[in-house]
Amino acid sequence: MSEDLGAVVDEIMKSVEGDVSREDVESNLRKFIDYGVPVEQAKQAVIKKYGGKQAVQVVQKKLGEVEPDDRRLSFIGKIVAIDEREVEVRGEKKKIFRGLIGDETAVLPFTAWKDFGLEQGEVVRVKNASAGEWGGQPRLNFSEWTEVEKTDEQVDLIKRKPQHYDIIDLKPGLSNIEVKAKLLTMEEREVSVEGTIKKVYTGIMGDMTGKIRYTSWTDFGIREGDVVEIKGAYTKSWRGAPQLIFDENATVEKIDEDIAISEMSKKSIPIYKLVEAGGGVDVAVEGVVIEIQSGSGIIYRCPKCNRAISEGVCPVDGEVEGIPDLRIKAVVDDGTGAVNAVFNRETTEKLTEKTLEEFRGMNDGEVEEELKNLLIAHPIHVEGNALSDEYGVTLIVQDAEMVTPAVEQEREELLSKMEVME
């Protein structure tokens, strides 16, 4: 079999620099092909052998067109921001660079896995980058195989358009957020930042989907009860829950309309959303109790510091006369996610229809039995504030009730949905 490889050899010759003979290239190429290597791969192998530049098929895109999972991307962009950090990769410390790169269509976050010598404000031509996904938007990766070169071209950065979010969808680490919400509470405080006194406004805002804690570092002349449209805010994790922050880079506009506020006591959210948000203020979820954890039932608290104590000894205050209290630590799971739920004495008494005194008349085994019988495998509606830590999300329950499922109604609804599907 003797294919005509002339055209392929021509292509290789173009990619290879220096003094290389056509004959050598062709015989090398032929060798690969004789081994059954497909022509395209053989071509790349020969180019590599002669030290040529890999003729990777690159996809030229504007940043606004980049989608997660894109490979072999090529684009020109301006480094908007860059930040060096150390990470551990397979036990080894490695320096990586994170930042933002933009063109006239978008500004995207990137991670450079080696030092390309990038500097803020530079315009670069990037070849053979890839894209992943983070927080619902594409994130670029510059790897070992990515080529980056400086260029004199001008890039006018897009004026980033804020992205509108419902409050339920806010999670820590988002930026350039647009929300429309009502300021449910507002407190004014003075804090000292690097020696100067600044006013800071904090509180809780809400829309139809949920509520969130906010902090404003600028006096926008807004008040409790106002409905506002905020553009250019960002989120951070604060005490285990997302917080919305806006400062002088944001615009805040008071709107002359009232909006409905989520009445969480009626509407629960899927648990995975709460887990993704890493907590939340005044949220409600509905799920099945799948575990009652140890430390549930009668506990004793230190009269001085209120910590739970064991065997009459407080870890801080030493030997004390403990005050009896009641609580339940449970796992509530709705099939999309799971949260730890901590019920205080009041909610425990409400759910069990038994008082602390009645529980004190039972032994530990009986208390455990009682709680398991009542709660395990049973659907429950819980409301409160949710915080996250390394073990997941914990809901501090403010109110709870057992759910009597509307089985028949849900069945009808499902049947009619199924009919639509067919």
Partner: protein
């Protein structure tokens, strides 16, 4: 992060032949079902049909739990003391709720048996069993919709599914399932859901109980009012309503008593006990 307990029918779970093995200690493993459930932990409610100690020595309980679409295998040994103790005393048949971890047994390449290692087992009532069926239908339906969307994408994309509003777990599971199993027989799962929805118990059982109690009360009423010529239909219904029964229920009970021959109608509109 704690793995959620998925609601997956036996008819879907048992068809699984693909596993995503976690690398390292902290990464969990998942059974991927053909419809894209990414299962590490499950919550199921079904009928406990049989329990057997299959260990040569010591304890290894094997139990079967039936749902409207199939049968789960459950294994509990000495390291699951509470479920093992529950199974050693459990009566069959009974409604049982199980929270457990997905387990696989691969006797040879390409053959995979899935089972459940329970973390918690508890006997429950018919209402919770029906509730579970509805929940499992809802979750299966969501995956089915996501799968349909994914099958129309080229290539199927986790990101695009998430943009459509599906949770990560479903988006990832569905895309993984499509690449592992190829096309999915959506109709099969529509059929599973319909089968399951036809399977309700609560309504039936409770209604029969209610009707039985109503019959007793109505029979007493008839006896009290019948006199020589029998009791008036309307009088019986009124008395029944005064005792807190729905009008329909009283009439149903009367019809049922007549079917059973405990009450008859000597003259039109009047009733007597036999």
């Amino acid at each position: 992060m704690r793995e959620p307990a998925l609601r997956v029918f036996a008819g879907e779970y048992n068809e699984s032949t693909h596993v995503l093995k976690g690398e390292g200690e902290k990464t969990p493993s998942y059974v991927i079902t053909p419809l894209g459930a990414k299962v590490n932990r499950l919550f199921i409610v079904g009928v406990l049909t049989d329990v057997e100690n299959v260990a040569q020595e010591g304890e290894m309980w094997r139990a079967h739990l039936s749902d409207p679409t199939g049968i789960y295998s459950i294994y509990a040994g000495q390291y699951q003391p509470e479920p093992a103790a529950f199974l050693s005393r459990a009566e069959t048949p009974s409604y049982v709720a199980v929270v457990g971890k997905a387990r696989v047994y691969e006797p040879e390449e390409g053959t995979l048996f899935v089972s459940i290692r329970p973390e918690m087992m508890k006997e429950v009532d018919a209402m919770l069993r029906d509730y579970w069926i509805v929940e499992a239908c809802k979750h299966t339906y969501t995956r089915m919709k996501a799968m349909k969307e994914a099958m129309e994408m080229d290539p199927p994309s986790v990101y695009k599914l998430k943009e459509l509003g599906y949770p990560s777990l479903i988006a990832e599971g569905v895309v993984e399932a499509l690449s592992a199993y190829g096309d999915v027989d959506i109709e099969h799962y529509q059929f599973l859901i319909k089968e399951a929805l036809a399977h309700f118990e609560t309504g039936k059982i409770e209604y029969m109980k209610e009707l039985g109690e109503a019959e007793e009360k109505v029979l007493e009423i008839v006896k009290k009012c019948e006199g020589e010529d029998g009791a008036l239909w309307d009088e019986i219904v009124d008395s029944g309503e005064k005792e807190g029964m729905e009008r329909n229920l009283v009439e149903e009970a009367l019809a049922s008593l007549m079917d059973k021959g405990l009450v008859y109608e000597p003259i039109l509109g009047k009733l007597k006990t036999t």
